[in-house]
Symmetry: C2
Subunit: 134 residues, 2 copies
């Protein structure tokens, strides 16, 4: 039975279950930062997945990246699988803007600021709505 | 005619042309840090590529990640497409170790230390040798 890592649960807000992964919102209002967690027990490295599984995840990365692009028109999308702290395989998909607090540096290590619950809920509903058309 | 971005040329050492991309060594001996540059003119975002092109690049990411895993037995592989500074689409594939100077933080922003030319050449020859068997 697949379960999301407890650190990810703590840092993120659940958005929606996709076909092969769960989509989370990083609870940091400084960035438009989503996290895709493939529902594959014990996966740590991308190379732990069968290539067909990787292709399925790549498809969902595209879906999520395009939603961020279409909705927010960011300067750049950042996509990363790091996992130095949280081992469970998870992919960061982040809309970056020239005026965000970290740009052009990567987002990690910068100040985190939790969403107001209503703001998070509004954003989640927008993204869920966009996912309906994918 | 595809050409590697001048910043990447400046920061990296060419290793080998793969089927769909060029493989570079980041000239920073603090990390085992490779960079894969798809040979697709004007590509910036992953989503700029056809899905079939993305799958080809995913295959080469696997090849490179597995070489780092087999040769160096790292704690973790980090894979990232950021591109906030260098727009040309390029994918970082980095072998991370608990005792590297940045761990568990991402590598960006940490001190860079150029290879001694002979050390870089030795490492490049090792990786080229591993690529022969892929």
């Amino acid at each position: 039975m697949f379960e999301i890592d407890k650190n990810l649960k703590n840092d993120c807000i659940f958005i929606k279950k996709l076909d092969k992964s769960q989509l989370l919102l990083m609870n940091n209002s400084n960035f438009k930062w989503l996290v895709l967690v493939p529902e594959i027990t014990n996966a740590v490295e991308l190379t732990d997945l069968e290539f067909s599984e990787q292709i399925d995840i790549l498809n969902e990365i595209n879906i999520v990246a395009k939603i961020l692009q279409n909705r927010f028109n960011p300067t750049k999308i950042n996509i990363a699988a790091l996992g130095n702290i949280v081992k469970q395989l998870h992919i960061h998909i982040i809309a970056r803007f020239e005026n965000d607090i970290a740009f052009p540096k990567p987002v990690w290590g910068f100040e985190s600021k939790k969403y107001q619950p209503a703001d998070a809920q509004y954003l989640i509903e927008e993204i869920k709505n966009d996912l309906k058309f994918k």
